[in-house]
């Protein structure tokens, strides 16, 4: 378990203030925030590369606040990989491996196979693609058997295909018991990987919780604006019967939605932006494949329109204009129809 208590870091005119969080051993912890909020500085502080001015960091109840970098057992994967350019992939991975020579060689081969770079062992980093380099960096960080793996925007430089494969790999590592702290500015990464999410703002943590808690119930305007998406539901995707090859059904809490996706059936999350949700007094005849009756539970003005929460069996948030609120007399207790197009719903595989 990683425990961060009231950590302050001051580095080159930038500061982190009173950072506290706990990462249980079986967690995949994502630090989500815009560029420049201090995510990378926090990772560097945890790994010992940036000095902690106040506070403490405990790893498995051992105080590592001021421990030497090489003794922390924290594996760090840089955004740009930072592979050693003068060493082959094999030597890069083997660099931090522990044990006898034969053990280190076997570790290198096993890790290369795990991350899918076994065929690249004799290549130099300069000859690798972005995805391959990221996999090698991951294998290299795993070689010393770190107690906690720190990932700095590991997917940001990858194309869509490589990103999907890397996500699957990270999930596998997590399932095998690896504790992970992952920083990113991409909420999809957070939703698809995290067991716990922390939102960072101006060198501090604005909110911590499970992805569903944070995305469905942002506690501040900053968090709500940053994550930008309020309708997040966990469920299962299934193929729709008939000839609608591009439409699948997604079931969450006993409610079935229609999603335009070509993702394979399986568990995942459905995301719908609140501005894509339409409210009306009757189910409209339109191209919207999703139409549900529900009851308004909350109406809240925001700087950009009004957020209306509708209970259709799950709570859905719609962002409508103030004029629509008056026209439809939207207030708690009002029965209303809620609709959105299948193409407005996004599916994220688990």
């Amino acid at each position: 378990m990683l425990r961060v208590e009231h950590v302050h870091v001051s580095l080159d005119g930038f500061a982190l203030h009173d950072i506290s969080f706990t990462v249980p051993q079986d967690s995949y912890f994502v630090l989500l925030g815009a560029s420049g909020v201090g995510k990378t500085v926090l990772l560097e502080a945890l790994s010992g590369l940036a000095p902690i001015t106040h506070g403490a960091v405990y790893l498995d109840n051992e105080d590592i606040t001021h421990a030497r970098i090489q003794h922390r057992k924290m594996g760090l994967v840089y955004q740009d990989q930072a592979l050693f350019p003068h060493l082959t992939v094999r030597k890069n991975i083997a660099y931090g491996a522990v044990g006898s020579r034969s053990t280190r060689e076997q570790t290198t081969i096993d890790l290369a196979a795990t991350v899918g770079v076994a065929h690249l062992l004799d290549r130099r980093p300069a000859t690798l693609s972005g995805g391959e380099a990221q996999r090698v960096a991951l294998a290299r960080a795993l070689a010393p058997q770190p107690r906690c793996l720190l990932l700095d925007e590991p997917l940001s430089a990858l194309d869509i295909k490589a990103r999907s494969a890397m996500r699957a790999l990270l999930r596998t590592l997590h399932r095998n018991g690896q504790m992970v702290v992952h920083v990113t500015h991409d909420y999809e990464e957070a939703l698809s990987l995290a067991t716990h999410v922390a939102i960072m703002e101006n060198g501090a943590i604005a909110q911590i919780g499970t992805p569903m808690d944070v995305f469905q119930h942002p506690t501040s305007e900053f968090v709500a604006r940053f994550i930008g998406i309020r309708n997040v539901f966990a469920g299962t995707l299934a193929e729709e019967s008939g000839n609608n090859m591009d439409i699948a059904t997604f079931t969450s809490a006993g409610i079935t939605f229609h999603i335009m996706t070509n993702a394979p059936p399986g568990p995942g999350m459905m995301l719908v932006r609140s501005e894509d949700v339409t409210l009306s007094s009757s189910c409209p005849e339109s191209s919207a494949r999703n139409c549900f009756s529900g009851q308004v539970t909350d109406v809240a003005r925001t700087p950009l329109g009004t957020e209306v929460v509708v209970d259709i069996g799950v709570e859905f948030v719609a962002l409508v204009s103030n004029a629509s609120v008056q026209q439809l007399t939207l207030k708690p207790g009002r029965d209303i129809w809620l609709s959105f197009k299948a193409s407005a719903a996004r599916f994220l595989e688990e």
Binding site: S47, G48, L49, I69, Q70, H71, R72, K73, M74, G75, L76, Y78, A82, F84, P85, H86, Y95, G96, V98, R124, P125, A126, R140, A141, A143, P144
Partner: protein
Amino acid sequence: MKTRARHTLASDPLSLVFAALGGMVLLFLIAPLAGMAFNSPLSDLADTAAEKEVRASILLTLWTALAATTICSVAAVPFAWVLARKQFPLKRLVSGIIDLPVVVPHSAAGIAILGFIAPNSCIGGTAERAGIQFVGGAAGIIVAMAFVSVPFLINAARDGFAAAPERLEKAALTLGASPARVFFTISLPLAWRAIVSGMVMMWARGMSEFGAVAIVAYHPIVASVLIYERFGAFGLAHARPVAVLFLGVCLVFFIVVRLLAREDTHAPR
């Protein structure tokens, strides 16, 4: 790429002027050396090469300069890493001190070194009791060469370390490597090209040293002192073949070292 470079040079009048000025500088550097070489008949060169004193002098110059470079690099290269990576009080002053031998007149440097290693000094006396003769010995030549040439190695190595991404050293630390292992397996290999370049420069500068060496150890006689002595005693015609021969030997060594250092290391630059 080459086509584009030629096109740019031909179409830009300013570049043409600069190229012409550059040509004049090159001519200034090459003309005296070429003139010296062309005015030395092969028969004279062969006779000079056959002289035991000349061969011994060139050999002495080569190995003492190499010894000065090798011995100094043991301390100078790690020191260059400290200068490139660490901040400490009076760092600018330290950097200035490193460049001091470059600006001090080398005869003055020789006097300073002599006072430091003379038999009546603490270090010189201790060395003499240990059987090491500085004044009038190869050890003194090595010290004089090292004093005037070590800034070239330190500065080149410091620039080489500074150019290598520090992030790679940090990444190695997070993998559990000790700082010493990081230095030898990451920092040194990434900066080796600049270090070799600095060693070549130091070696070259050491071999060409006259003033400090002549004061500290006129004998055994190194090439620069021999050339001066022949010029003073017999005139230009007798000094020139020794100079050409020494120049030729140095050129061969430098070209070989530079070619070896050009091998691709895949280091980031």
